[in-house]
Amino acid sequence: MLRSLWNGASGMAAHAAKMDIVANNLANVNTTAYKKQKAAFTDLLYQRIGTTGQPVRESSSGPALSGSGVKLTAVSGLFTQGPIISTGRELDVAIRGNGFMEVELPNGQLAYTRDGNLQVDGEGTLVHSSGFRLSAQVMVPAGAKKLVIAPNGSITATLEDGTREEIGVLPLYRFNNPGGLMPIGQNLFVSTEESGAAWEEVPGQSGMGTFQQGMLEGSNVNLVEEMTQMIIAQRAYQFNSRSVQVADEMWGMANNLRK
Protein backbone atom coordinates (compact mmCIF):
# COMPACT_ATOMS: atom_id res chain seq x y z
CA MET A 1 0.00 0.00 0.00
CA LEU A 2 2.86 2.31 0.76
CA ARG A 3 4.06 1.27 -2.68
CA SER A 4 0.76 2.40 -4.23
CA LEU A 5 1.30 5.75 -2.57
CA TRP A 6 4.82 6.09 -3.97
CA ASN A 7 3.79 4.82 -7.39
CA GLY A 8 1.10 7.49 -7.53
CA ALA A 9 3.47 10.12 -6.19
CA SER A 10 6.15 9.25 -8.78
CA GLY A 11 3.53 9.56 -11.54
CA MET A 12 2.42 12.94 -10.22
CA ALA A 13 5.99 14.21 -9.96
CA ALA A 14 6.94 13.02 -13.46
CA HIS A 15 3.87 14.53 -15.07
CA ALA A 16 4.22 17.79 -13.16
CA ALA A 17 7.73 18.02 -14.65
CA LYS A 18 6.29 17.31 -18.10
CA MET A 19 3.77 20.10 -17.53
CA ASP A 20 6.61 22.52 -16.66
CA ILE A 21 8.38 21.61 -19.89
CA VAL A 22 5.21 22.05 -21.95
CA ALA A 23 4.51 25.41 -20.28
CA ASN A 24 8.05 26.56 -21.06
CA ASN A 25 7.60 25.54 -24.70
CA LEU A 26 4.33 27.48 -24.86
CA ALA A 27 5.93 30.54 -23.27
CA ASN A 28 8.58 30.47 -26.01
CA VAL A 29 6.24 30.09 -28.96
CA ASN A 30 7.51 33.42 -30.35
CA THR A 31 11.14 33.25 -29.23
CA THR A 32 13.63 33.49 -32.08
CA ALA A 33 15.18 30.11 -32.92
CA TYR A 34 13.73 28.46 -29.80
CA LYS A 35 13.96 24.67 -29.89
CA LYS A 36 11.17 22.82 -28.17
CA GLN A 37 11.99 20.41 -25.38
CA LYS A 38 10.59 17.01 -24.82
CA ALA A 39 10.22 14.92 -21.68
CA ALA A 40 11.05 11.20 -21.81
CA PHE A 41 9.79 8.72 -19.24
CA THR A 42 10.87 5.27 -18.19
CA ASP A 43 9.63 2.78 -15.63
CA LEU A 44 11.57 2.22 -12.41
CA LEU A 45 13.09 -0.86 -10.89
CA TYR A 46 11.07 -3.95 -10.11
CA GLN A 47 11.15 -5.80 -6.84
CA ARG A 48 10.27 -9.36 -6.17
CA ILE A 49 7.05 -9.75 -4.18
CA GLY A 50 6.73 -12.44 -1.58
CA THR A 51 9.59 -11.84 0.75
CA THR A 52 7.56 -9.98 3.33
CA GLY A 53 4.86 -12.45 4.27
CA GLN A 54 2.46 -11.77 1.44
CA PRO A 55 0.36 -14.63 0.13
CA VAL A 56 2.22 -15.39 -3.10
CA ARG A 57 2.59 -18.71 -4.83
CA GLU A 58 6.01 -19.73 -6.12
CA SER A 59 5.30 -19.70 -9.80
CA SER A 60 7.06 -21.71 -12.47
CA SER A 61 7.12 -18.77 -14.89
CA GLY A 62 9.35 -16.58 -12.73
CA PRO A 63 8.67 -14.55 -9.62
CA ALA A 64 5.94 -11.93 -9.48
CA LEU A 65 7.43 -8.46 -9.50
CA SER A 66 6.16 -5.24 -8.13
CA GLY A 67 7.02 -2.04 -9.98
CA SER A 68 7.98 1.18 -8.32
CA GLY A 69 6.55 3.83 -10.60
CA VAL A 70 7.92 6.10 -13.27
CA LYS A 71 10.62 8.69 -13.67
CA LEU A 72 11.59 11.45 -16.02
CA THR A 73 14.77 10.23 -17.71
CA ALA A 74 15.74 12.96 -20.05
CA VAL A 75 14.71 16.37 -21.23
CA SER A 76 16.10 16.79 -24.68
CA GLY A 77 15.87 19.58 -27.18
CA LEU A 78 14.31 18.81 -30.54
CA PHE A 79 16.48 20.56 -33.11
CA THR A 80 14.16 20.57 -36.08
CA GLN A 81 14.15 23.55 -38.40
CA GLY A 82 11.87 26.40 -37.30
CA PRO A 83 10.02 28.54 -39.84
CA ILE A 84 12.13 31.19 -41.58
CA ILE A 85 10.53 34.59 -41.09
CA SER A 86 11.43 37.58 -43.22
CA THR A 87 12.28 40.69 -41.20
CA GLY A 88 14.06 42.84 -43.80
CA ARG A 89 16.65 43.88 -41.21
CA GLU A 90 20.21 43.93 -42.51
CA LEU A 91 21.77 42.28 -39.47
CA ASP A 92 19.20 39.51 -39.10
CA VAL A 93 20.52 36.22 -40.31
CA ALA A 94 18.76 32.86 -40.17
CA ILE A 95 20.43 29.47 -40.50
CA ARG A 96 18.62 27.25 -42.96
CA GLY A 97 19.66 23.71 -42.16
CA ASN A 98 22.18 22.33 -39.68
CA GLY A 99 24.57 24.32 -37.59
CA PHE A 100 25.13 26.88 -34.86
CA MET A 101 26.93 30.17 -34.53
CA GLU A 102 29.57 30.43 -31.83
CA VAL A 103 29.42 33.15 -29.17
CA GLU A 104 32.10 33.98 -26.62
CA LEU A 105 30.80 34.51 -23.10
CA PRO A 106 32.47 37.14 -20.87
CA ASN A 107 34.17 34.34 -18.87
CA GLY A 108 35.81 32.99 -22.02
CA GLN A 109 33.50 29.98 -22.32
CA LEU A 110 31.99 29.29 -25.73
CA ALA A 111 28.24 29.11 -26.30
CA TYR A 112 26.26 28.20 -29.40
CA THR A 113 23.13 29.72 -30.86
CA ARG A 114 20.86 29.72 -33.88
CA ASP A 115 19.44 33.11 -33.01
CA GLY A 116 20.83 35.39 -35.71
CA ASN A 117 19.44 38.68 -34.45
CA LEU A 118 22.87 40.35 -34.61
CA GLN A 119 23.83 43.84 -33.44
CA VAL A 120 26.90 46.07 -33.69
CA ASP A 121 28.26 47.13 -30.32
CA GLY A 122 29.89 50.45 -29.42
CA GLU A 123 33.30 49.28 -30.61
CA GLY A 124 31.97 48.15 -33.97
CA THR A 125 32.06 44.40 -33.28
CA LEU A 126 29.27 42.07 -34.34
CA VAL A 127 27.45 40.76 -31.26
CA HIS A 128 24.68 38.32 -30.55
CA SER A 129 21.31 39.65 -29.30
CA SER A 130 22.52 38.89 -25.75
CA GLY A 131 25.35 41.43 -26.22
CA PHE A 132 28.08 38.77 -26.28
CA ARG A 133 30.57 38.81 -29.14
CA LEU A 134 30.59 36.26 -31.91
CA SER A 135 33.80 34.28 -31.67
CA ALA A 136 34.44 35.02 -35.36
CA GLN A 137 35.36 38.58 -34.21
CA VAL A 138 33.92 40.57 -37.09
CA MET A 139 34.69 44.33 -36.98
CA VAL A 140 32.31 46.55 -38.91
CA PRO A 141 34.29 49.56 -40.21
CA ALA A 142 33.00 52.97 -39.11
CA GLY A 143 30.67 54.52 -41.64
CA ALA A 144 29.98 51.28 -43.52
CA LYS A 145 26.81 51.79 -45.53
CA LYS A 146 25.75 48.30 -46.35
CA LEU A 147 26.52 44.84 -45.05
CA VAL A 148 25.95 41.75 -47.14
CA ILE A 149 26.06 38.34 -45.48
CA ALA A 150 26.40 35.65 -48.13
CA PRO A 151 24.87 32.16 -47.73
CA ASN A 152 28.39 30.80 -47.15
CA GLY A 153 28.93 33.21 -44.26
CA SER A 154 31.26 35.76 -45.81
CA ILE A 155 30.42 39.31 -44.78
CA THR A 156 31.05 42.17 -47.21
CA ALA A 157 30.74 45.82 -46.23
CA THR A 158 30.29 48.76 -48.60
CA LEU A 159 32.49 51.53 -47.25
CA GLU A 160 31.81 55.27 -47.24
CA ASP A 161 33.74 55.79 -50.46
CA GLY A 162 31.71 53.10 -52.21
CA THR A 163 34.37 50.37 -52.26
CA ARG A 164 33.48 46.91 -51.06
CA GLU A 165 35.57 44.94 -48.64
CA GLU A 166 35.23 41.50 -47.09
CA ILE A 167 35.36 42.07 -43.34
CA GLY A 168 34.97 38.56 -42.02
CA VAL A 169 33.54 35.05 -42.35
CA LEU A 170 30.95 33.41 -40.12
CA PRO A 171 31.58 29.68 -39.79
CA LEU A 172 28.97 27.17 -38.60
CA TYR A 173 29.51 24.65 -35.82
CA ARG A 174 27.99 21.25 -35.45
CA PHE A 175 27.60 18.53 -32.80
CA ASN A 176 27.22 14.79 -32.82
CA ASN A 177 24.11 15.11 -30.71
CA PRO A 178 22.59 18.61 -30.59
CA GLY A 179 19.79 17.16 -28.43
CA GLY A 180 22.28 16.94 -25.57
CA LEU A 181 23.14 20.66 -25.58
CA MET A 182 22.33 22.49 -22.38
CA PRO A 183 20.34 25.71 -22.71
CA ILE A 184 21.69 28.53 -20.55
CA GLY A 185 19.08 31.16 -21.44
CA GLN A 186 19.22 34.06 -23.91
CA ASN A 187 18.91 31.54 -26.78
CA LEU A 188 22.38 30.20 -25.98
CA PHE A 189 23.48 26.61 -25.50
CA VAL A 190 26.68 25.16 -24.10
CA SER A 191 28.16 21.82 -25.06
CA THR A 192 28.00 18.89 -22.65
CA GLU A 193 29.36 15.37 -22.57
CA GLU A 194 26.04 14.29 -24.09
CA SER A 195 26.29 16.62 -27.06
CA GLY A 196 29.99 16.06 -27.72
CA ALA A 197 32.39 18.82 -28.66
CA ALA A 198 31.66 21.29 -31.45
CA TRP A 199 33.60 21.34 -34.68
CA GLU A 200 33.78 23.96 -37.35
CA GLU A 201 32.41 23.55 -40.87
CA VAL A 202 31.96 25.74 -43.90
CA PRO A 203 28.29 26.68 -44.41
CA GLY A 204 26.69 24.86 -47.30
CA GLN A 205 29.24 22.03 -47.30
CA SER A 206 29.02 18.46 -45.96
CA GLY A 207 25.40 18.70 -44.91
CA MET A 208 25.65 22.08 -43.19
CA GLY A 209 23.06 24.82 -43.48
CA THR A 210 23.42 28.20 -45.11
CA PHE A 211 22.89 31.78 -43.94
CA GLN A 212 19.87 33.78 -45.06
CA GLN A 213 20.21 37.50 -44.58
CA GLY A 214 17.18 39.58 -43.64
CA MET A 215 15.44 36.61 -42.06
CA LEU A 216 15.10 35.08 -38.61
CA GLU A 217 14.31 31.53 -37.61
CA GLY A 218 11.09 31.25 -35.62
CA SER A 219 10.37 28.90 -32.76
CA ASN A 220 9.72 25.26 -33.73
CA VAL A 221 6.98 24.93 -31.11
CA ASN A 222 3.72 23.67 -32.54
CA LEU A 223 0.87 25.11 -30.50
CA VAL A 224 -1.65 22.36 -31.21
CA GLU A 225 0.85 19.65 -30.31
CA GLU A 226 1.85 21.41 -27.08
CA MET A 227 -1.79 21.87 -26.05
CA THR A 228 -2.37 18.16 -26.62
CA GLN A 229 0.70 17.34 -24.54
CA MET A 230 -0.62 19.66 -21.84
CA ILE A 231 -3.93 17.81 -21.71
CA ILE A 232 -2.08 14.48 -21.57
CA ALA A 233 0.13 15.70 -18.71
CA GLN A 234 -2.80 17.13 -16.77
CA ARG A 235 -4.97 14.03 -17.07
CA ALA A 236 -2.08 11.72 -16.23
CA TYR A 237 -1.48 13.84 -13.15
CA GLN A 238 -5.14 13.39 -12.20
CA PHE A 239 -5.05 9.63 -12.69
CA ASN A 240 -1.99 9.37 -10.48
CA SER A 241 -3.49 11.60 -7.81
CA ARG A 242 -6.38 9.12 -7.79
CA SER A 243 -3.86 6.35 -7.05
CA VAL A 244 -2.68 8.31 -4.03
CA GLN A 245 -6.25 8.92 -2.87
CA VAL A 246 -7.18 5.26 -3.16
CA ALA A 247 -4.03 4.20 -1.30
CA ASP A 248 -4.95 6.67 1.41
CA GLU A 249 -8.47 5.28 1.60
CA MET A 250 -7.16 1.72 1.86
CA TRP A 251 -4.76 2.70 4.56
CA GLY A 252 -7.64 4.32 6.43
CA MET A 253 -9.55 1.04 6.25
CA ALA A 254 -6.61 -0.92 7.63
CA ASN A 255 -6.28 1.65 10.33
CA ASN A 256 -9.96 1.24 11.25
CA LEU A 257 -9.85 -2.55 11.46
CA ARG A 258 -10.19 -2.22 15.20
CA LYS A 259 -13.16 0.03 15.78
Binding site: A40, R57, G62, G207, L257, K259
Partner: protein, 255 residues
Protein backbone atom coordinates in the same frame (compact mmCIF):
# COMPACT_ATOMS: atom_id res chain seq x y z
CA UNK B 1 -13.91 -18.43 13.57
CA UNK B 2 -10.34 -17.33 14.17
CA UNK B 3 -9.42 -19.05 10.93
CA UNK B 4 -11.82 -16.65 9.19
CA UNK B 5 -9.74 -13.74 10.43
CA UNK B 6 -6.69 -15.04 8.59
CA UNK B 7 -8.72 -15.83 5.47
CA UNK B 8 -10.03 -12.28 5.29
CA UNK B 9 -6.54 -10.94 5.97
CA UNK B 10 -5.15 -12.76 2.90
CA UNK B 11 -7.92 -11.09 0.92
CA UNK B 12 -6.77 -7.67 2.08
CA UNK B 13 -3.10 -8.43 1.38
CA UNK B 14 -3.81 -9.67 -2.12
CA UNK B 15 -5.90 -6.61 -2.98
CA UNK B 16 -3.06 -4.46 -1.74
CA UNK B 17 -0.67 -6.16 -4.16
CA UNK B 18 -3.21 -5.69 -6.94
CA UNK B 19 -3.43 -2.02 -6.12
CA UNK B 20 0.38 -1.69 -6.23
CA UNK B 21 0.32 -3.25 -9.68
CA UNK B 22 -2.46 -1.00 -10.97
CA UNK B 23 -0.82 2.16 -9.65
CA UNK B 24 2.43 1.15 -11.36
CA UNK B 25 0.53 0.74 -14.62
CA UNK B 26 -1.09 4.15 -14.16
CA UNK B 27 2.22 5.82 -13.28
CA UNK B 28 3.58 4.54 -16.61
CA UNK B 29 0.67 5.72 -18.74
CA UNK B 30 3.05 7.89 -20.80
CA UNK B 31 6.11 5.62 -20.84
CA UNK B 32 6.83 4.57 -24.44
CA UNK B 33 6.71 0.83 -25.06
CA UNK B 34 5.42 0.05 -21.57
CA UNK B 35 3.52 -3.22 -21.32
CA UNK B 36 0.92 -3.48 -18.59
CA UNK B 37 1.12 -6.23 -16.04
CA UNK B 38 -1.78 -8.03 -14.48
CA UNK B 39 -1.88 -10.19 -11.39
CA UNK B 40 -3.74 -13.47 -11.36
CA UNK B 41 -5.27 -14.33 -8.00
CA UNK B 42 -6.15 -17.87 -7.02
CA UNK B 43 -7.44 -19.54 -3.88
CA UNK B 44 -5.21 -21.51 -1.56
CA UNK B 45 -5.53 -25.26 -2.10
CA UNK B 46 -8.71 -26.64 -0.60
CA UNK B 47 -8.45 -28.61 2.61
CA UNK B 48 -10.94 -31.07 3.98
CA UNK B 49 -12.30 -29.97 7.30
CA UNK B 50 -12.98 -32.75 9.78
CA UNK B 51 -14.63 -32.75 13.16
CA UNK B 52 -12.97 -34.71 15.93
CA UNK B 53 -15.76 -36.79 17.38
CA UNK B 54 -16.68 -36.30 20.95
CA UNK B 55 -17.55 -39.96 21.49
CA UNK B 56 -14.42 -41.77 22.35
CA UNK B 57 -13.86 -45.19 20.93
CA UNK B 58 -15.95 -44.73 17.78
CA UNK B 59 -14.56 -46.36 14.68
CA UNK B 60 -13.63 -43.32 12.63
CA UNK B 61 -12.77 -40.87 15.35
CA UNK B 62 -13.42 -38.00 12.93
CA UNK B 63 -16.32 -37.00 10.72
CA UNK B 64 -15.72 -35.02 7.51
CA UNK B 65 -17.47 -31.63 7.50
CA UNK B 66 -16.63 -30.45 4.02
CA UNK B 67 -13.96 -28.66 1.99
CA UNK B 68 -12.56 -25.35 3.14
CA UNK B 69 -10.56 -22.60 1.53
CA UNK B 70 -8.04 -20.55 3.41
CA UNK B 71 -8.27 -17.41 1.35
CA UNK B 72 -6.64 -15.92 -1.71
CA UNK B 73 -3.09 -15.65 -2.92
CA UNK B 74 -1.18 -14.11 -5.75
CA UNK B 75 -0.78 -16.79 -8.34
CA UNK B 76 1.12 -15.27 -11.22
CA UNK B 77 2.11 -12.05 -12.83
CA UNK B 78 1.20 -11.71 -16.46
CA UNK B 79 2.73 -9.20 -18.85
CA UNK B 80 0.26 -8.21 -21.52
CA UNK B 81 2.24 -8.21 -24.79
CA UNK B 82 -0.50 -6.58 -26.87
CA UNK B 83 0.89 -3.90 -29.15
CA UNK B 84 0.26 -0.29 -28.15
CA UNK B 85 -0.82 2.46 -30.54
CA UNK B 86 1.91 4.19 -32.48
CA UNK B 87 2.20 7.91 -31.95
CA UNK B 88 3.95 10.21 -34.38
CA UNK B 89 6.65 12.37 -32.80
CA UNK B 90 8.57 13.56 -35.86
CA UNK B 91 11.88 13.00 -34.06
CA UNK B 92 14.17 10.94 -36.29
CA UNK B 93 15.70 9.06 -33.34
CA UNK B 94 12.28 7.87 -32.13
CA UNK B 95 11.69 4.35 -33.41
CA UNK B 96 8.78 1.99 -32.97
CA UNK B 97 8.39 -1.67 -33.84
CA UNK B 98 5.18 -2.35 -35.68
CA UNK B 99 4.78 -6.05 -35.01
CA UNK B 100 6.85 -8.67 -33.21
CA UNK B 101 10.25 -8.22 -31.64
CA UNK B 102 12.42 -6.07 -29.39
CA UNK B 103 15.26 -3.62 -29.87
CA UNK B 104 18.45 -5.21 -28.54
CA UNK B 105 20.38 -3.17 -25.98
CA UNK B 106 23.88 -3.76 -24.65
CA UNK B 107 24.08 -2.97 -20.94
CA UNK B 108 26.77 -3.57 -18.34
CA UNK B 109 24.70 -6.54 -17.13
CA UNK B 110 24.40 -8.17 -20.54
CA UNK B 111 21.93 -8.05 -23.38
CA UNK B 112 18.55 -6.52 -22.66
CA UNK B 113 15.47 -6.07 -24.81
CA UNK B 114 13.12 -3.14 -25.07
CA UNK B 115 10.13 -1.82 -27.00
CA UNK B 116 10.85 1.76 -25.94
CA UNK B 117 12.46 3.24 -29.02
CA UNK B 118 12.98 6.70 -27.59
CA UNK B 119 16.66 6.80 -28.54
CA UNK B 120 19.21 9.56 -28.90
CA UNK B 121 22.87 9.98 -29.80
CA UNK B 122 25.62 10.17 -27.22
CA UNK B 123 28.61 12.51 -27.31
CA UNK B 124 30.53 10.18 -29.66
CA UNK B 125 27.58 9.79 -32.02
CA UNK B 126 26.46 6.30 -31.02
CA UNK B 127 22.74 5.48 -30.95
CA UNK B 128 21.86 4.96 -27.28
CA UNK B 129 18.83 4.63 -25.00
CA UNK B 130 17.80 7.36 -22.59
CA UNK B 131 20.10 5.68 -20.02
CA UNK B 132 23.04 5.78 -22.40
CA UNK B 133 23.21 2.05 -23.24
CA UNK B 134 24.11 1.10 -26.82
CA UNK B 135 21.37 0.08 -29.23
CA UNK B 136 22.74 -2.83 -31.23
CA UNK B 137 22.74 -3.39 -34.95
CA UNK B 138 23.77 -6.62 -36.62
CA UNK B 139 27.43 -5.47 -36.34
CA UNK B 140 27.32 -4.08 -32.82
CA UNK B 141 26.79 -0.49 -31.63
CA UNK B 142 25.52 1.92 -34.27
CA UNK B 143 27.65 4.96 -35.06
CA UNK B 144 25.76 7.87 -36.65
CA UNK B 145 28.03 10.56 -38.08
CA UNK B 146 26.18 12.77 -40.45
CA UNK B 147 23.20 15.01 -40.63
CA UNK B 148 20.41 12.81 -41.92
CA UNK B 149 19.62 9.51 -40.24
CA UNK B 150 16.99 7.31 -41.80
CA UNK B 151 15.62 3.96 -40.79
CA UNK B 152 13.71 1.96 -43.34
CA UNK B 153 10.82 -0.34 -42.47
CA UNK B 154 13.13 -3.38 -42.80
CA UNK B 155 15.44 -1.92 -40.13
CA UNK B 156 18.25 -0.82 -42.44
CA UNK B 157 20.02 2.31 -41.25
CA UNK B 158 21.28 4.99 -43.60
CA UNK B 159 23.34 8.05 -42.67
CA UNK B 160 23.50 10.77 -45.33
CA UNK B 161 22.38 8.23 -47.91
CA UNK B 162 25.09 5.67 -47.04
CA UNK B 163 24.05 2.27 -45.69
CA UNK B 164 25.48 1.70 -42.20
CA UNK B 165 23.90 -1.34 -40.60
CA UNK B 166 20.67 -3.16 -39.88
CA UNK B 167 18.90 -2.82 -36.52
CA UNK B 168 19.08 -6.03 -34.51
CA UNK B 169 15.45 -6.87 -33.73
CA UNK B 170 15.23 -9.87 -31.43
CA UNK B 171 12.24 -12.15 -31.29
CA UNK B 172 11.35 -14.94 -28.87
CA UNK B 173 9.31 -18.03 -29.60
CA UNK B 174 7.88 -17.73 -26.09
CA UNK B 175 7.83 -14.40 -24.30
CA UNK B 176 6.51 -15.85 -21.06
CA UNK B 177 9.76 -15.91 -19.14
CA UNK B 178 10.85 -12.36 -20.01
CA UNK B 179 11.28 -10.25 -16.93
CA UNK B 180 10.97 -6.53 -16.41
CA UNK B 181 14.21 -5.00 -15.21
CA UNK B 182 13.16 -1.35 -15.01
CA UNK B 183 14.15 1.37 -17.49
CA UNK B 184 11.77 -0.37 -19.94
CA UNK B 185 14.25 -3.21 -20.35
CA UNK B 186 13.48 -6.91 -20.30
CA UNK B 187 15.88 -9.71 -19.54
CA UNK B 188 15.55 -13.13 -21.11
CA UNK B 189 15.78 -16.27 -18.99
CA UNK B 190 18.11 -19.16 -19.80
CA UNK B 191 16.83 -21.12 -22.74
CA UNK B 192 14.57 -18.39 -24.08
CA UNK B 193 15.99 -18.97 -27.58
CA UNK B 194 16.34 -15.37 -28.78
CA UNK B 195 16.76 -15.02 -32.51
CA UNK B 196 17.33 -12.08 -34.81
CA UNK B 197 14.18 -11.44 -36.81
CA UNK B 198 14.60 -11.28 -40.57
CA UNK B 199 13.54 -8.13 -42.39
CA UNK B 200 9.93 -8.66 -43.38
CA UNK B 201 8.99 -10.49 -40.21
CA UNK B 202 8.50 -7.19 -38.49
CA UNK B 203 8.54 -3.50 -39.41
CA UNK B 204 10.33 -0.51 -37.89
CA UNK B 205 8.78 2.93 -38.06
CA UNK B 206 10.94 6.00 -37.75
CA UNK B 207 9.53 9.12 -36.08
CA UNK B 208 7.03 7.11 -34.08
CA UNK B 209 6.85 5.85 -30.51
CA UNK B 210 4.74 3.01 -29.20
CA UNK B 211 2.25 4.13 -26.58
CA UNK B 212 1.70 1.92 -23.52
CA UNK B 213 -0.98 -0.71 -24.06
CA UNK B 214 -3.01 0.51 -21.10
CA UNK B 215 -6.73 0.91 -21.16
CA UNK B 216 -7.26 3.67 -18.63
CA UNK B 217 -10.94 2.91 -18.09
CA UNK B 218 -10.11 -0.71 -17.28
CA UNK B 219 -7.35 0.32 -14.91
CA UNK B 220 -9.66 2.69 -13.06
CA UNK B 221 -12.40 0.07 -12.83
CA UNK B 222 -9.89 -2.49 -11.56
CA UNK B 223 -8.66 0.03 -9.05
CA UNK B 224 -12.18 0.58 -7.72
CA UNK B 225 -12.86 -3.15 -7.67
CA UNK B 226 -9.68 -3.77 -5.69
CA UNK B 227 -10.55 -0.96 -3.29
CA UNK B 228 -14.03 -2.31 -2.62
CA UNK B 229 -12.86 -5.90 -2.28
CA UNK B 230 -10.34 -4.63 0.22
CA UNK B 231 -13.18 -2.88 2.05
CA UNK B 232 -15.36 -6.01 2.04
CA UNK B 233 -12.51 -8.03 3.56
CA UNK B 234 -12.00 -5.35 6.15
CA UNK B 235 -15.68 -5.62 7.07
CA UNK B 236 -15.33 -9.39 7.43
CA UNK B 237 -12.45 -8.92 9.85
CA UNK B 238 -14.49 -6.41 11.82
CA UNK B 239 -17.45 -8.82 11.95
CA UNK B 240 -15.13 -11.56 13.21
CA UNK B 241 -13.82 -9.19 15.79
CA UNK B 242 -17.37 -8.53 17.01
CA UNK B 243 -18.17 -12.24 17.12
CA UNK B 244 -15.04 -12.91 19.11
CA UNK B 245 -15.93 -10.09 21.44
CA UNK B 246 -19.36 -11.61 21.98
CA UNK B 247 -18.02 -15.06 22.78
CA UNK B 248 -15.34 -13.69 25.00
CA UNK B 249 -17.41 -11.21 26.94
CA UNK B 250 -21.07 -12.16 26.74
CA UNK B 251 -21.40 -15.95 26.62
CA UNK B 252 -21.68 -17.12 30.13
CA UNK B 253 -21.67 -13.71 31.65
CA UNK B 254 -23.88 -13.41 34.71
CA UNK B 255 -26.01 -10.34 34.65
Amino acid sequence: MIRGLYTAATGMLVQELKQDNITNNLANMNTPGYKKTELAVSSFPQVLLKRIDAIKGSAAGTTPVGPLNNGAMLDEQIIDWAEGNLEETGNSYDLAINGEGFFTIETAQGLRYTRNGSFRLDGQGYLVTAQGDYVLGLNGPILVQGSSFTVAADGSLTVDGVYVDHLLITGFPDKQGLQKMGHDLYSAPEGALPRALEPGETAVKQGFLEKPNLNLVNEMVNMLAALRTYEANQKVIQAHDELLAKSANEIGSLR
